[in-house]
Amino acid sequence: MDLKFLLGAALLVAAPAAEAHHSRAMFNVQAPVELTGTVREFQFTNPHCYIQLTVAGRTGQAEEWSVEMGPPHSLRERGWGKNTLKPGDRITLTIAPLRNGNRGGELHTLRSINGRPVEQRS
């Protein structure tokens, strides 16, 4: 984590009230998006873990999404390890998507792994 990350909301001078409490200006937490796809890579790394997810686009073409998570020590506190997700796993999750339209976001809720319900919220 770096300072921008932590201060993104702390030092905002103004924002719509709904997002005023969140340090995630780049993510639209008000409009979560559900994704179902295949894990290409689960990066269990500092300072952030990432899920690189392959998702079928509107016309069927493969699109890669980057889903940001916290550092490994935060994930460990919540029962996650580096093998919680493995390449090839089929997962469904919701994310707070990037506002700029790029294929990325912040993990909101992991809903299922290979058809097994999980429902683990951030």
């Binding site: 921008k4 030092l11 340090s23 200006a25 500092n46 998570m69 912040e106």
Partner: protein
């Protein structure tokens, strides 16, 4: 070496112990059996994150736990200027190399403590290292040391309390998670002791007349990490730190993207009467957010509630136009007048580029001289 005269660990005591031929037990060394529980993995209270690495719903925001970041420090004029200037550097830095001292002692990442008779070592998750020598040696002579991100530390065990004296700390805002913007002549005293099996507490006093109006005192609580029993270090810890600015907005990006440094806008010195004219409380339209502008001396300060429940200075472009500096870009404020010349509100833009319109409230805000 004049600063040594005021140290909590009298240099003369350390020196006399060494000079006495070690006939008596060194006074600053620990009783290892009594402090064995210090070893382990610790983390500052109030900076724990959720699965997504951000605030846990219902818990206080992480940034309030970053007590050594400097938001609440008693800065003088030079200190405020350095704090704002540093924010622009932070905004343009994509790295994530770790935390310098003293911020590492309130960072949202764990650290471990290793106690030996001659030194105690604090190691951060991002490979930050603090050597605290407890064998009686003084600081390096001034002509043999230079400012570094973690400074030069010596310590003394007073019973079960480790008193740490640190000097020569470098402030380098290009080091992405550096701070606070103290001078290289700042002097730090930490009194660290265990108050429970899984709890350390520390009283930190920072003196730095170059940037602070008075000594800055911070009380820290550290909790033993509930799960991990060791740190796992990596080579380049900045590799997966992907946050950059794009058109003034932070975003996650490809690894090789670099955002530009946001330059600090110029600021005019204005008369107290000009600042008092705009000082007051303002209600944002369309959102329950209150802005408070308050004059302190020759500077205008602002707080936003929510989400910024503390005052930060704003910069004057002219008597009616001001700029706030944040790590994600600048906010602007253009105050508006009625026919009688009274300020009625402001229009502006937030750091994210969102338009703002606010009306002045009737409540007065007195200036501070």
């Amino acid at each position: 070496m004049t600063r040594l005269a005021g140290l909590a660990i009298p240099a003369a005591l350390l020196w006399s112990t060494a000079a006495a031929g070690q006939a008596e037990a060194p006074r600053c060394q620990p009783d290892l059996a009594r402090v064995a529980a210090w070893e382990g993995v610790w983390m500052a209270e109030g900076v724990q994150a959720g699965l997504n690495g951000r605030d846990i719903p219902g818990a206080p925001p992480i940034f309030l736990g970053l007590k050594l970041l400097g938001i609440h420090a008693p800065w003088n004029e030079a200190g405020w200027e350095r704090l704002q200037e540093g924010m622009g550097r932070v905004a343009g830095n994509t790295g994530g190399h770790g935390f310098s001292f003293p911020l590492v002692m309130s960072a949202p990442s764990p650290f471990t403590i290793v106690v030996s008779p001659t030194k105690t070592v604090v190691i951060g998750e991002y490979r930050e290292v603090r050597y605290i020598f407890t064998d009686g040696r003084p600081h390096l002579p001034e002509d043999e040391r230079w400012p570094t991100l973690w400074g030069d530390s010596i310590g003394c065990w007073e019973g079960d309390t480790l008193v740490i004296d640190t000097v020569s700390v470098e402030y380098s805002p290009d080091y992405s998670t550096d701070g606070p913007p103290l001078s290289e002549n700042a002097h730090f005293i930490e009194r660290l002791h265990m108050t429970g099996p899984d709890r350390l507490e520390s009283d930190i006093t920072i003196t730095d007349p170059e940037t602070l109006e008075r000594p800055w005192v911070v009380h820290m609580v550290y909790l033993r990490h509930p799960v991990i029993d060791r740190l796992v270090h990596e080579g380049d810890v900045s590799l997966n730190n992907r946050i950059v600015l794009e058109n003034g907005l932070p975003t996650i990006a490809a690894l090789d993207e670099v955002a530009p440094v946001v330059p600090l806008p110029p600021s005019l010195k204005l008369a107290a009467a000009e600042l008092d004219r705009v000082a007051g409380k303002y209600a944002l339209e369309h959102a329950p957010i209150e802005f408070t502008f308050e004059r302190r001396g020759e500077r205008l300060f602002m707080r936003v509630d929510p989400p910024q429940p503390f005052f930060m200075p704003v910069r004057a472009a002219d008597p009616l136009n001001y700029v706030s500096v944040t790590p994600i870009g600048n906010g602007t404020f253009r105050f508006e007048l009625d026919d009688a010349g009274n300020v009625t509100g402001f229009r502006g833009t937030s750091p994210e580029g969102l338009p703002m319109t606010a009306r002045r409230k009737s409540e007065q805000v007195a200036g501070v001289n």
